[in-house]
Amino acid sequence: MKRRYYSFFPQNYKKNLAALRATFEDSSDLVIREFSFGTNKDKEVKAALIFLDGLTNPTIINDSIIKPLMHDNHLLYEEEASDLSDLDLIRNRLLSVGVVKTIYTPNEVIEACLSGNAILMTDGFCQALDIGAKGGEKRAVSEPVSETSVRGPREGFTENLRTNTAMIRRKIKDPSLKIRSAVIGARTHTQVNLLYIDGIVDPDLVDEVERRLKKIDTDAILATGYVEQYIEDNPYTPFPVIWCSEKPDAVAGKLLEGRVAVAVDGTPFVMTMPMLFIENFQTAEDYISRSHYATSMRILRLIAFTISLFAPALYIAFTTFHQELIPTTLLFTTAASSEGIPFPAPVEMGIMMLIFEILREAGVRMPRPIGQTISIVGALVMGEAAVQAGIVGAPVVIVVAITAVSSFAIPFLMDAVSIIRWFLLILASTMGNLGITVGVFILLVHLSSLRSFGAHYLAPLAPFQRRDLKDTAVRAPLWAMHTRPRATNPQDLKRLRSNPPRNPSSSEKATGVRNHDKEQQYDP
């Protein structure tokens, strides 16, 4: 879609201003500050500073633009001071602002204006100065809500793109961290940055991501999720194929594994791609904590995933098709609790799962204090009452509760799992174990068929890559993970310079004496 642009009238300052006013008609936040400056009266220059109030930093406007022009021109050399109408002169000698750009077209004026810059137009010139005066209110860097960390860094991304890229830059102090920029959205003109580390990342991958970003033809990009949906490979899968995080350290880690990050202005989330299935089970904390603990947590998450996916389906399959699988004593208890329940087991399970989904949704959208009330009412009162009233059996409540709790352990997959769970439940209640097995087969094939920017989604498992298993269910010690994951096809495979990798203690033994000496030297 094309914006109605006014044409630039060469050297006609008044007309230009009028046209600009017409473009921004009914925009009360537009400020056109007209003023004049100059050293002697007859050579006074008429000028206008145009900016959008709220997007700009008033301090810069006042102290670095208007003040030098109006008050500090006596600091100029005399021959310069005589003719102030030269834009280059103003730019080079007067404006004490970091980013100043000369612009020529009305489009640029509008874009600069909208992105929070101040525009200086002077009478008699067909150029204008685009002065970086971005500012305005923004949220301070705070601890991320969606991912909390115990030992790791606590900062999280904000809605401001520059802050976000700066946070990453602060982690990776290397000129080869590249940040390409693009503007997407015909109306929103959202700034989108593409980050990668040159020398690690596969250049084809960067080109591919950029190509897909450029292909986006929409009028609005309001959050990362918008971009995600436009560039992902498999639009019809419930599984996330692009990873996103609120934590700069996590994103930096992904970049260092040879991935590409995409940051979108206005969202405190940064996406990275390609994404592997196993990333759903990884957290930034894993790499900080000890590897045994991290490994056990990984396994725990995998178990939680299995439970939250299969528990209701397996319960139905066992209690309605394969009662022989239930230990005899447990069968009696289960049978006792299903005496007098009016619904067949699948319906019973469906009701409880539905109630749980509603409770979850209600809890998420409500303000936190109310959310807690809802969960207490839902979990305690409704569960207990439903059992008491004989609408559902106690085992069903237990199973749904386990399912729910387990799904919270794998936040990335929660959405996918809560859909697939229903699919498996239907299969299990029609075909029992066979249904579940066919469901698992379909699920496996589906996962195996997914691609994320050319990487196999199920990567170290299918296609099997033995050497990449170090960061799956097991999180090997960092010194043992001496290569980057091959799924991202990094240019520079080696993470450690020393090859072969060594257990730190064993290398210490070899050179222990020397190290010790050195340490003593540096010890004050």
Partner: protein, 390 residues
């Protein structure tokens, strides 16, 4: 990106062979009924019997690199006889797919869901297969290692759990039956589960290194032979003389698992693994059939349907190649569905077929036709002779 998309590594192929044959462990009842307590040895001799068969496939594939079995027979026999030979192969693949689907169905109906009509079981299973085939066979092949690990784990766990019920005395006496019995056992194992890997000759053109066929096939076979011998040993040791009268020994032996009175009746869990394997096998056989059919019906000199999407994610916006093959997946699956419904009237017919005629039927296509093809190719001096000499 130079990812392995569409390319299958030899390792994948090897474990795919393993999974493929492992699905047939259930059918070991045919052989165990014949060779009884010595059946475990038949797995090994069967493997020896299968080596020349595999060597013939490897020689054919070497002579005509990048071509699958149907294309090769077209090359060797010319367009008309080639089509006839291909049609024979196709019938074989179709029958195998139907037989295996029927095996799956009757297994599920007999042991898991006795009151469900077999048609429903087959329908849902074949829907799973059709889905997998539409997603591309390579995705299934990638899964083979994972699947093998699951299978090995399940077999190991189950075997450990029945350890308590084993009696080594059941293995005796060793080798006291007629020689003919052992020949029958060897040929049956060599032909029925092992020789069926002829279906993989339709997939080998998708290999990363298409010339390295013999090794993965042989090692896959060896692996399967070991695991088959292991499973048979377990069954014989747990079931003793019962092994030759129960219909599915490997399933029956797991029914004894009792661990602390809670972990009993594990066979439904094992059944899950078996069904997965059966789905895998039926998928491979169906793929062989569909690809062969496409080749017969499709236009000449067109790229293979699976080779023009070596890297599917990156050409999303490029115009797809005009498909020269009609989409046969669903309709072929439907054909297998109906075929497997009528293939046997009863389990007794199934057993009779498996024990008496199946080895000869299979050998015709697994040994006779390829051997004749190879011979004709030699006589007509077709293919890359230089490579054969190496």
């Amino acid at each position: 990106m130079k990812s392995t998309g569409g390319n299958i590594s030899p390792k994948d192929l090897m474990f795919a062979v393993f999974c493929f044959i492992q699905a047939t462990v259930l059918r070991s009842g045919y052989i165990i009924a014949v060779t009884r307590q010595d059946s475990w040895a038949m797995a090994m001799t069967g493997f020896l019997f299968a080596i020349p068969i595999v060597a013939i496939y490897a020689a054919l594939l070497r002579k005509f690199p990048g071509k699958n079995l149907i294309e090769i027979s077209d090359c060797i026999f010319g367009p008309i006889i080639g089509k006839v030979v291909s049609a024979f192969y196709l019938f074989f693949f179709l029958s195998l797919a139907a037989l295996n689907a029927h095996d799956l169905g009757s297994f599920v109906v007999r042991y898991l869901m006795p009151e469900t009509p077999i048609a429903m079981v087959l329908l849902i299973s074949l829907m799973g297969c059709a889905y997998a085939l539409r997603k591309g066979i390579e995705n299934l092949m990638y899964l083979s290692i994972c699947l093998s690990i699951i299978v090995a784990g399940a077999v190991a766990i189950n075997s450990i759990l029945v350890l308590n019920d084993m009696n080594p005395g059941f293995l005796k006496p060793f080798f006291q039956m007629d020689l003919m019995t052992y020949i029958q056992g060897t040929v049956t194992i060599g032909a029925v589960p092992m020789g069926e890997i002829i279906a993989f000759t339709m997939i080998t053109p998708m290999l990363e290194k298409e010339k390295k066929v013999l090794k993965p096939l042989l090692f896959g076979l060896l692996l399967s032979a070991f695991s088959m011998a292991f499973a048979m040993l377990r069954d014989i040791l747990t079931l003793g003389p019962l092994v030759s009268i129960v219909s599915l020994p490997s399933f029956e032996s797991i029914r004894y698992v009792t661990l602390a009175d809670t972990l009993t009746r594990m066979e439904s869990i094992y059944a899950v693994v078996l069904i997965l394997l059966f789905l895998f096998k039926v998928c491979i056989l169906l793929y062989a059939f569909i690809l062969g059919l496409s080749h017969i019906l499709g236009r000449k000199n067109q790229p293979l349907p699976n080779q023009d999407h070596t890297n599917p994610s990156f050409n999303t916006d490029q115009p797809s190649n005009p498909k020269s093959f009609p989409p046969l997946t669903l309709i072929s699956t439907a054909l297998v569905f109906f075929y497997s419904l009528i293939v046997f009237e009863s389990a007794m017919e199934n057993i009779d077929w498996g024990a008496s005629t199946a080895p000869f039927f299979s050998l015709t296509y697994e040994l006779l036709l390829p051997a004749v093809s190879l011979l004709v190719a030699f006589l007509r001096k077709l293919g890359k002779a230089r490579e054969v000499r190496e």
